[in-house]
């Protein structure tokens, strides 16, 4: 008797845009037995509740809503005959690529994989992490939970709304709830700049005259049973509330849109350490983690600005996983990528094969007219700048990309460190 119930060449965990794209790419690179495991009863992931427009411009060259984008990908999955196990939870993944799952239909199963692609996406940071003083009434939701109530369950969580945090989901929900008849009083953002896309500031707030208070935060929550109001205060440059700036705002609903965090329980469960900045696994140019044959892509690796970018990254992982199971390997390299803090992180963090690599990076603050320099520090102590690029403006909300060609990196000896810095 085999020690497992099923065996597949490539198993993708998560059926959102990244998972579906990874599975499609692996299949298109000649692997016929690909499995997607999804815990919901349908493919699509978070896109199923993102009914607004703005998806697909990169991938499909037309503007789609989230469900349309998801359905297009699901059609491609179906056309290829890629197997899916829906309503199935992954309990554990081991380093020798055994996956334990549970579902009502099949009970507990063990699945053996040639390669595993993590595509579990991310979840919202919760209010607990914010430790706001005051009572704990009902009426406080994460923006994503509110989005689910309105768009999937079909009911409104409240009427008088304050939104804390100007992340994109919060902005999208400001518009959504306004259109459904709620009164969104204001959005407050603790940082001096918004974390959301410019188009969302314009079309979700300005279109409806919803004020955005920068450098403000909620400092107290009021109400017994149901939320009755919040105190908001201005904050100084170190994000501490300034005494005397408090104002009371009556509301029955507080939405929190304070950021997303990769959902990495399975990753850490099999002993893969996380990067402090991305909160995802450290990966090479193929999105392979330190465990050979285990890959990560999409929002479980680092939070992307657009589903299109998550899908694009997933294609890299899917293609590489297919090459691995087919036994195709390139010329090895050993280059590490480091950052100066102004550049907050890069993905990938290392280059293990000589090939053209696009490096994605995010900065830690708003910088006007910065210049990115990539400096190679060779093991013999020599340093040289291999790339510089000027920008008009860089901001934390926008992921940037630079291409490192094989010609550029192929010459570098093993043990080289590439430092990404702004000046």
């Amino acid at each position: 008797m085999a020690a497992w119930d099923y065996e597949y060449s490539v198993v993708v965990i998560g059926g959102g845009p990244a998972g579906m794209s990874a599975a499609i790419a692996a299949h298109d690179c000649g692997v016929s037995d690909v499995l997607i495991i999804e815990r919901e009863n349908a493919l699509g992931g978070i896109l199923r509740q993102c009914i607004h427009c703005g998806f697909g411009l990169e991938l499909f060259k037309e503007e789609l809503t989230g469900p349309e984008f998801a359905e297009r990908l699901a059609e491609q999955v179906e056309q290829r005959g890629i197997e899916c196990k829906l309503s199935t939870m992954v309990l554990n993944v081991s380093r020798d690529k055994l996956i334990t799952t549970t579902s009502a239909e099949e009970g507990v199963l063990t699945i053996k994989a040639g390669a595993i692609i993590f595509a579990m996406g991310c979840r919202e940071r919760s209010r607990g992490a914010l430790t706001t003083p005051g009572t704990r009434p009902s009426g406080i939701f994460s923006a994503g939970a509110a989005q689910r109530y309105v768009n999937i369950e079909g009911y409104m969580p409240g009427k008088e709304v304050v939104i804390l945090g100007s992340g994109d989901i919060g902005l999208i929900m400001a518009r959504r709830m306004t259109l459904e008849g709620a009164h969104v009083k204001l959005v407050c953002e603790v940082m001096p700049y918004s974390g959301g896309l410019a188009r969302n500031i314009e079309q979700c707030l300005h279109d409806f005259d919803i004020p955005l208070l920068l450098s403000h935060t909620v400092t107290k929550i009021h109400g017994k049973g149901r939320l009755e109001g919040v105190t908001i205060s201005q904050v100084d440059e170190r994000r501490r509330p300034i005494p005397g700036t408090e104002q009371y705002v009556e509301c029955d609903t507080l939405l929190l849109s304070v950021g997303l965090i990769p959902e990495n329980e399975l990753t850490t469960g099999c002993g893969i350490p996380l990067n402090g900045a991305t909160k995802g696994a450290e990966v090479d140019q193929d999105r392979q983690t330190e465990v050979p044959g285990i890959y990560a892509c999409g929002n479980v690796l680092h939070v992307h600005d657009l589903a299109d970018y998550a899908a694009e990254e997933a294609r890299i992982a899917g293609k590489a996983a297919a090459e691995l199971v087919r036994g195709e390997t390139g010329t090895p390299a050993d280059i590490r990528l480091k950052t100066d803090g102004k550049v907050r992180y890069t993905v990938p963090q290392r280059i293990t094969v000589k090939k053209d690599v696009t490096v994605y990076y995010r900065v830690s603050d708003v910088f006007d007219t910065p210049r990115l320099t990539v400096t190679a520090k060779l093991p013999d102590g020599e340093t040289r700048d291999i790339l510089t690029k000027k920008y008009i403006r860089l901001a934390p909300g926008t992921m940037e990309a630079v291409k490192l060609s094989r010609d550029l990196t192929g010459e570098l000896p093993d043990g080289t460190v590439l430092e990404f810095r702004l000046n």
């Binding site: 469900p67 999937i152 259109l179 314009e202 403006r393």
Partner: protein
């Protein structure tokens, strides 16, 4: 009248200055490219938005819908009212099926933005 418009077409987010003359003609400056110029002009003359929402029909999960082209911004709430009035859906619904023709006289159709994937079907 002068207006500042933040261009949303690309991440550069140019601040475009628009001057609307008494005769309604618009002059814009500060755009980084022609696409931004066109966007700023349309924002002054006839701003349009795609409306997305859900249709809630008894016995069905909410159905995501959208207008198949942008409608005048001023008609967004009227469209929402029309969407709320939809009380029946065609059987065997597919993505892209028309739910309301020429919604609120905008020339846009309201279409289903999801089909069989809805709630696992």
């Amino acid at each position: 009248m002068n207006r500042k418009i933040i261009c949303i077409i690309c991440p550069r987010s140019c601040e475009i200055d628009a001057e609307i003359a008494a005769d309604g003609s618009v002059t814009v400056s500060g755009f980084g490219c022609q696409r931004g110029k066109r966007y700023a002009e349309s924002e002054c003359i006839n701003p349009v938005r795609t409306v997305t929402s859900t249709v809630c029909v008894e016995g069905h999960a909410p159905l995501p819908v959208r207008t198949d082209k942008p409608v005048p911004k001023a008609k967004m709430f009227e469209c929402m009212k029309a969407i709320a009035k939809v009380k029946a859906l065609p059987p065997d619904l597919h993505m892209g099926d028309v739910i309301l023709e020429d919604i609120c006289g905008t020339g846009a159709n309201l279409i289903a933005a999801a089909g069989r994937m809805r709630n696992g079907n």
